[in-house]
Symmetry: C2
Subunit: 402 residues, 2 copies
């Protein structure tokens, strides 16, 4: 008798959901479609030439380290480099605070594994990163939210939300928020860190785009503000996905040593260690001083694209549509008139040969029907102009239909 697999699935498996949007977006991969949907960096910026030389060096000089099993914590020279990198942010750490992960996504999952039991609450921004929501939903948690505005999380509403939801931790993307594109203002950062400490709630600070700032001054990470208060309350997540290449799957967590050890235990069971080859290559790339100039190049390109998108939005989007003006990162956020459902709009848009991500996926509570996320990173200025023109047309059609 053949097995009815569904009867064997765990509670965790039953909580996993595939996104309906993912299905619609499959159509968006056709070549004639201009896509503002992905969260991908621009592939033409990948440093393939330098990587080629580094690959050759790695295999000749570091073949065993690059191909053999490695320690779960991560390649020691890479962790030392990350200690220096964090020091440049103003954060004093040592190697025992750093765990290398298979992208930030694995860091989110390991944090879920180490901290979350069914019924626990997590406090998120509204909207928040869909990958975090998906990863933690499987652990059976409840989501409580605090709305955000142009200056990031509405910290004035935070204390009440903490007291009401009693969260296991607060998850926040302070820089160039995904999906909203906004940045948490300095005074809000200070307030957030203070409130979290007062209520003994840890903060998970997710910072994939922090170095991709196109205007204004860098603001201190929450982890730095917390360290100044001797807090030790923040888990900081970084990644090379947007700085070098996501296909390498390399991220890192900075955590108090005891939490780092627990994350390592969890990672032993999850995949033993992050791929050595990518770790050795990225370390070598950084050691040669190639990272900083490369980031400058990315910034120049993305800044131009952001400006092109902002200009096109002014030109082609109808009255009553609002959007954020990101100072960095990959995304901006569009708020449509209440009567426009962005999932319906996407169908129209795909017919016009343009795509985006409808906003509901980013709302843990399923609201946000009239919002959408656009990335300006992957299309060049001409395509951005054309794509926004098409999208403006689709929006006007929906407005007329409603």
């Amino acid at each position: 008798m053949s097995i009815r697999w569904h009867d064997y699935y765990s509670e965790c498996a039953r909580r996993m959901t595939s996104s309906a949007i993912r299905e619609i977006l499959k159509f968006a991969q056709r070549p004639e479609i201009i896509s503002f949907a992905g969260g991908m960096p621009a592939p033409e910026l990948f440093p393939t030439k330098e990587m080629e030389e580094i690959c050759s060096y790695t295999l000749t000089e570091k073949g065993t380290e690059a191909l053999q099993y490695g320690i779960t914590e991560g390649y020691p020279p890479l962790r030392s480099f990350l200690v220096e990198k964090m020091a440049a942010y103003g954060l004093g750490t040592s190697e025992e605070n750093i765990v290398v992960t298979a992208g930030s996504q694995q860091a989110l999952d390991l944090i879920g594994r180490v901290f979350l039991d069914p019924g626990d609450a997590i406090l998120l921004e509204k909207p928040s990163y869909v990958g975090a929501i998906q990863a933690w939903r499987a652990y059976g948690v409840k989501f409580a939210t605090v709305p955000l505005d142009e200056k990031g999380m509405r910290v004035d509403l935070l204390e009440e939300a903490i007291m009401e939801s009693k969260p296991k931790f607060i998850y926040v993307l302070p820089n160039f928020h995904n999906p909203a594109g906004v940045t948490l203002a300095l005074e809000r950062r200070e307030k957030l860190v203070e409130l979290a400490a007062r209520h003994s709630v840890p903060i998970v600070e997710d910072d994939p785009y922090g170095e991709l700032r196109y205007e204004g001054e860098h603001l201190p990470p929450l982890a730095v503000l917390d360290a100044k208060r001797n807090g030790g309350n923040v888990l900081y997540l970084g990644t090379f996905s947007k700085l070098i290449a996501p296909g390498l799957r390399l991220g890192w967590v900075v955590a108090p040593a005891e939490v780092a050890r627990q994350l390592v235990l969890a990672k032993q069971g999850a995949d033993l260690h992050t791929n050595s080859f990518g770790q050795v290559m990225v370390y070598e790339y950084c050691r040669r001083g190639l990272l900083q100039p490369h980031i400058e190049e990315i910034i120049a390109t993305y800044r131009e694209r952001r400006d092109a998108m902002l200009a096109a939005l002014e030109r082609y989007f109808p009255e009553g549509v609002r959007w954020t003006k990101p100072e960095g990162g990959l995304f901006l956020w569009v708020i449509l008139p209440e009567e426009v459902d962005s999932v319906e709009l996407l169908k129209e848009a795909v017919e016009e040969k343009v795509a985006f991500v409808p906003g509901t996926a980013f709302y843990a509570d399923g609201t946000g029907h009239n919002t959408m996320r656009l990335t300006f990173a992957t299309a060049n200025p001409e395509m951005i102009e054309e794509g926004i023109k098409r999208l403006g047309k689709a929006i006007k059609k929906r407005l007329e239909a409603s």
Copy 2:
């Protein structure tokens, strides 16, 4: 107030255990020690030269695929190649049955996530692979065991164990068992598949070493025998770790399509996808026809080392010590006289500058105090001779002391 992190840990985190043996084995990494402890392939066999050429090709010709985000299921050409590879084993599948994972370890973990709730039972061989035990222990499961002998799992004891423990699945390493080095006999394979089907218990077949056979004929995987009965009851796990290099972290699962889809959902939350760079490189390596000749080379080297170890054991180990004679793989298993505790022996051995893994780690029930695992893969024949001589001396000392 600083956070008392331990109070925030999940039930899952509290079940995670670090191995005491791991601590002892840290001493075993000193260069003067001959180590039979690791489960690592021999690094001098890594195909670094061919990889160098392939790296260069990959970055020049496939840069975007190798560095960009990929789909969770795995790089499509690699999955097509794996379909062909499985066909050569006698297993008919298609791409929808294949999920590429970050090594077999991730496959074990994803299976845990999809199938295991606290209180569930898993039926294992005794001894069994420590990485599986560690991964699943975190899910709060109970372990039931069936002993093995020179012909693998004692299938004559299986039905009773199934009825008593009502397991979620049966986990088995049929080829060149880790740690025991034994191979499941054909008639036992047939019986196992039949019993599992009769009781509607899925089988997780872990086969990291199946192609590394040094003598005798290949036996059909359980998945093939099950398919012949139209079973669809087996999840088959393969890996490139021992065939090419573990640092790439590349394994795969073959599963019924609906289970593969569920594993993909779980993997989305866990790490989005397996590193693209490694997938593209390994695909190219296989496409060029380099895998099979490379396997032949590994086999020739490991066969010589296995023979050297078997000869040295005869020469240097005292009366009353028994060991398995593996037909392939990396390991053999030593059963010491009852009065020798192999954790105590390891301390003595490290003083003699030789190391191994004490057997208890492989016993889900904590027994096996007088057993140990030796790998013959990483030392050359001269070092094997010397190391076994040292180990024989340590054993004799323990026997005299007891």
